[in-house]
């Protein structure tokens, strides 16, 4: 199901590119801001919402998931090296799942580390674990979605940004009914329930969140596998 060579190649491809390394400081911002708040004398009830939700779940998690998820397969399709992977007797499901694993783990670990530390700064191990759980759920759904997008459209990053800004940023705040379709809410709700915290509240029940997140991940991955099976090289004009 998971191909180690693909995992290795993908990891090297991610970390070998300079621009990805520029993104690693983003989760550090979460920690930095938490420390700053504490040093200013604020208490977690004050800075919990803006830092953990506003910065963590609403900005850092989706943006990092977008950059990682869209490039883990998308960058190879773009620069033409996808043929190296595809002209092999590998089931397409294996390729997608291996890449998804890398994207998910990298996003969850990188963002999760920041969230975990911020939770500890807030003084509660439960909170830290809850945040990590929420991050993991969100990371899975986001990376699966953005990986599928990289096979479905030619500009996956822009579509992903539109989703983050317009759908999650604007509309779900205006139309509360659509919250059930917001990955951000799944992450927040799971974190809320697992940590039992008062610092922030998720709009959905944890069961719905987990179900929907799993659903998004499964559907997106199935779509991605199918599209990869029909992957066509556009012929050059010469």
């Amino acid at each position: 199901m998971i191909n180690l060579t693909i995992v290795r190649l993908t990891l090297r491809g991610l970390f070998g590119r300079r621009r990805f390394l520029l993104l690693l400081p983003l989760p550090a911002l979460i920690v930095g801001l938490a420390l700053l708040a504490e040093s200013l004398g604020a208490t977690p009830p004050d800075w919990g919402q803006p830092v953990l939700v506003g910065l963590g779940f609403a900005a850092v998690l989706p943006v990092l998931a977008l950059i990682v998820g869209a490039s883990v397969l998308g960058s190879e399709i773009d620069d033409g090296t996808a043929v190296h992977l595809l002209a092999k007797p590998l089931p397409r499901r294996e390729i997608v799942l291996s890449k998804l694993l890398v994207a998910f783990v990298v996003t969850a670990v990188v963002v999760g580390a920041g969230m975990l530390l911020a939770g500890l700064i807030a003084g509660s191990a439960e909170l830290a674990l809850g945040l990590l759980a929420g991050t993991a759920v969100g990371a899975l759904a986001y990376t699966a979605l953005f990986l599928a997008l990289s096979l479905l459209t030619r500009r996956p990053v822009l579509v992903g940004l539109a989703y983050i800004l317009v759908w999650e940023g604007l509309l779900t705040n205006l139309l509360t009914g659509t919250r059930v379709l917001s990955i951000q809410q799944y992450a927040i709700s799971v974190a809320d329930r697992v940590s039992g915290t008062d610092l922030f509240t998720g709009a959905l029940s944890p069961q719905v969140s987990l179900l929907m997140a799993a659903g998004v991940a499964v559907v997106a991955t199935a779509l991605a596998v199918d599209r990869l099976r029909s992957f066509a090289l556009t012929g050059d004009t010469s």
């Binding site: 910065l55 943006v63 940004l161 539109a162």
Partner: protein, 288 residues
């Protein structure tokens, strides 16, 4: 198949161009116009029009809805300055798409050496691109505000009411310009540093989104003063402060900033100036 090895140079009229050359000003103007058209995907394939016009569509719908509500129920849901603030996420999206489109592409395709070997100077190039994005965003907002204005003109009676509307519109257009400057300056600066569009776009968005929690933090944490200056730390709330300075705080959703309004204006100006300065430095240093 074998022909005698003869060589003749045919005079097909090739001559060096001896006529008038339009010079630097024309070149810069052409660059500006071309960039403005690129921001809206004009003159390019249908795919490049999708995102910009999607944004235009949504902003337009907002304007139409607001106008309709005003016409029917007489209630002003959104004032002219309120529009840019309400659709701010869309402006970020537009900047994140158009900025890399204008700048990152040239960096990636190695076209800069062609540009800089023409009368266009490096600073001209950077400023023309910036001006194009500022204009693009301003046009987007101004168009929507114009729709609101036209609707209002037909709703209210009396010349004095219309005059009031007109002055309100003028204020709104000015505020739109402030928005356009701030968003464009940041988007252009970030895009000029990255040669891949797919990376520049999320980073532009991140730059706006990531600073927002700082504001929330200061609001929640500090005292009255901290709350009043918290808006300085994120572009979205920064322009809101300028709105307070221009039109008075405590009105609509504009927070009361307790006398700090001029500071907001100064910081905004400073931010834009810094971005422009960094942009010029960037293009002086970039390897063509």
């Amino acid at each position: 198949m074998t022909e005698p090895a003869a060589g003749v140079i045919h005079d097909i009229g090739y001559q060096r161009y001896q006529g008038a050359r339009l010079g630097r000003r024309y070149a810069v103007r052409a660059l500006y116009t071309h960039s403005l058209r690129t921001a809206y995907g004009l003159g390019r394939s249908a795919k490049s029009k999708v995102f910009p016009w999607l944004v235009v569509g949504i902003v337009g719908i907002v304007a139409v809805v607001v106008t309709a509500v005003r016409a029917v129920a007489g209630e002003v849901v959104l004032t002219y300055p309120g529009l840019p603030d309400a659709v701010f996420p869309l402006l970020i999206l537009f900047g994140a798409i158009a900025g890399p489109e204008l700048l990152s592409r040239d960096l990636h395709s190695g076209v800069l050496s062609l540009y800089f070997s023409r009368p266009v100077r490096r600073s001209d190039y950077a400023l023309a691109k910036l001006a194009a994005l500022v204009s693009a965003i301003w046009l987007l907002l101004a168009g929507a505000q114009l729709v609101m204005y036209l609707g209002a003109v037909f709703t209210v009676d009396g010349w004095s009411a219309i005059w009031d509307e007109t002055t309100d519109l003028a204020g709104g257009l000015l505020y739109s310009a402030v928005h356009a400057l701030v968003v464009a300056a940041l988007a252009v600066l970030i895009a000029s540093l990255l040669s891949r569009r797919a990376v520049a776009a999320p980073i532009v968005v991140a730059a706006f989104l990531v600073t927002l929690p700082v504001v929330g933090l200061l609001e929640a944490v500090g005292g009255e003063t901290a709350r009043q200056i918290s808006g300085l730390f994120s572009p979205g709330t920064l322009v809101l402060g300028v709105r307070a300075w221009l039109f008075g705080s405590g009105v609509d959703d504009v927070p009361d900033l307790g006398g700090f309004e001029p500071l907001y204006a100064v910081v905004t100006l400073g931010l834009v100036a810094a971005c422009v300065g960094l942009l010029l430095v960037r293009y002086r240093k970039v390897r063509a």
